[in-house]
Symmetry: none
């Protein structure tokens, strides 16, 4: 291996699209209308859909949840406790970190303990979005 090169382990497009379809199926089964985004290990959008009837705002929120989860390698739902326990972070993270979504609906996508991407879901309450995201991430996780 050339020392100048590193390998970025990242989700494939085909897998990302399967994750979106699995999330759509879970949302339909739960009566949710969601926007669903999958980003790769570098935070870039790889697969996306907005279901009929999802709020316009869900487009941005779903993409930002996926970005937040993939970048930090942590479910978005863990940010609330982190921020509550750390006053400077609690005061500052929301405005200082671009695209941070500190509530549920975003999950890292992992293989062999490595984050290869993230999935973000928006459209319902964050606790429901989280279940839809889990169904999408389960294609890999």
């Amino acid at each position: 291996m050339n020392a100048a090169v590193r390998q970025i382990a990242s989700i494939t497009s085909a897998t990302a699209r399967r994750a979106v379809e699995a999330a759509v199926a879970a949302a339909e089964a739960a009566g949710q209308t969601s926007a669903i985004a999958v980003v790769d290990a570098t935070g870039q959008l790889i697969a996306y859909t907005r279901m009929d009837g999802a709020p316009v705002q869900a487009a941005q929120i779903a993409q930002d949840k996926a970005y937040t989860a993939a970048g930090f390698g942590m479910p978005t739902g863990q940010w609330h406790d982190l921020m509550a326990a750390d006053a400077p972070l609690g005061r500052g993270a929301g405005t200082a970190v671009d695209r941070l979504v500190p509530f549920g609906g975003g999950l890292p996508i992992r293989v062999d303990d490595r984050t290869i991407g993230g999935i973000g879901v928006s459209g319902g309450h964050w606790s429901d979005d989280d279940k839809v995201a889990q169904a999408g991430a389960a294609v890999v996780n």
Copy 2:
């Protein structure tokens, strides 16, 4: 109906302009100077005016209130209680949701229980803005 197509029920331009005029009349009667925006069901601006003497900032706030109300199908004034009752949402929604205005002055515009658009008013206190928005929405509601 072709299965590839769905119909998005949305406010007409003529009705949106009538809603703006009704809101202007209500604002004048109340001694308010407001910016007033009406967006369609997809969040796009359909009719707008800024009254003489309204703050420059009211332009953006009114448009964002209309967008918030139309997208979520809920008065903007309900966000305060939602956020107070749900800590992660309370911490995160203000920064994580683009253009969210979580105080009064934005109302969905509804026909037959369907949201066909939203109206947003800014320039006074949110409780006064809300009354002006109600006068605009009453053209349809």
Copy 3:
């Protein structure tokens, strides 16, 4: 029908995802690596993927091609002749019209002579992108 309401005929999410999959299949068959975007009649993103190996830039270009095609109801490839034949438009359209892509790879998606959305493809030469877009649009057209 309430006179306050108009119906916007727009592509469904399920059909938009099928169009993306059809375009991916055509790109694979042609040895192309593409980003593929489908927007609805109002210009908003409904389905998207970026294939493995497509340039980073293809993400934005594909989305803007879809937006250009859906908004104006015209293939993006027709802009070159329009601009060549009309000096003010030729000088100004590229910078004055946000997100305008005036070369091939974007197609309106039409049902019964009505534009219900648009598809945009980027990653190869525009003439190749156009063929991939045609395969996607053929799901409906």
Copy 4:
């Protein structure tokens, strides 16, 4: 008059709304579907509508035409000849000047040889947009 104060002569909100309505009537008579924007002498949006069926892009183009016309006190349609006659301007104005639209459809609104605002119209060919803008500006001019 206090020497610290200058008066900015600017179109009223009521007049701006009348200009929009006059432009809508002219567009309807001509079978055009337009977005129509009126800005004040300081370039800020005072009245706006998008007619049913106008392209999504017309929203931005109409507002930028009004801004271009009001700021420079000149019809947008004159920019093409200016730029053709002056090579540095011709090369640079399109990218160097934010929101410049160098083709027809934008007119200054004038009283007593003073520019008090601008009107911008988009949705058809710029030559048609120009006629709709003239009908709007005629409320004052």
